[in-house]
Amino acid sequence: MSDQIHFVALLKTGDSGAYDKLIEDYQHMVYNTVLGIVNHLQDAEDITQNVFIQIFKSIDDFKGDSKLSTWIYRIAITKSLEWERKKKSKKSINYFKNLMGISTETIEMSAFNHPGVELHNKEIAAMLFKAIKQLPENQRLAFVLIKVEGLNYQEVGEIMNKSTKSIEGLVLRAKAQLKLILNDYFSE
């Protein structure tokens, strides 16, 4: 913990070496969390950039009440959800433009292939990611952080400001919901 205090103090002074270390240590964590939420490789990289810019801008707001990684996870999640909302509203505008014949821009509906999934599982994993997208936000976040990011219930609870029990509940409900969604896919 004292290492973290010292490291954060260095970040607050704008020490370039500390920022190098921050990027080195957290780039994969941020990128994978974002990727698990937005399911798009290029977007995930752009959002990861935004996350580090936000960390740089608001490091003075970090009071040390939680672990630095927890704070960074929260920024990554917030930025990813903001990005999704912007993209969703852009999609709706494009959809209406297409209907009105104003725009010929195509609406992107490609399946997501996570680069970390084994080759023989690519197809069904893409189906799972598509189903995960349909979950309510809290269930989706809890499920992604546990199954994709590999965090435990307590860590996810700290990130989402919820008790371990409620995270367990969210993941259980997410699994049940996913079974229903997948059942519909396979029954078609």
Binding site: H114, V117, A125, K175
Partner: protein, 105 residues
């Protein structure tokens, strides 16, 4: 048929169990470092913005107070002027009927 679907669902749910971490571009760190050197930390920027905003508000309020005070002073002196005029006219009977009013005599 039902068991086949259930089996497929189980396989799908377990498909990301052995998921590996995705690798970010190897140039990300270099790009990020370049970006961060061009950005100013937010608190300094915010405090600068707030200083300007507060100074502008203070200036507007001061100007308003000054104008109101001037207006108030002008009204007061005008009232005093009217009052002193009527006092003078009372002393010198300026409002009374003129002595040489031939029409009414």
């Amino acid at each position: 048929m039902k068991t086949n679907i259930e089996h497929q669902i189980e396989l799908t749910l377990n498909s990301i169990d052995a998921i590996q971490r995705a690798e970010i571009s190897p140039y990300f760190k270099t790009r990020m470092k370049g970006m961060l050197t061009q950005i100013q930390p937010e608190p300094a920027f915010f405090s600068f913005k707030y200083t300007i905003a507060i100074a502008a508000i203070a200036l507007i309020l001061t100007a308003n107070t000054f104008l109101l005070y001037q207006q108030f002073n002008q009204n007061n002196s005008a009232e005093k002027q009217v009052q002193s005029n009527s006092e003078l006219s009372e002393i010198y009977h300026l409002n009374s009927t003129p002595v040489l009013d031939y029409d009414n005599q």
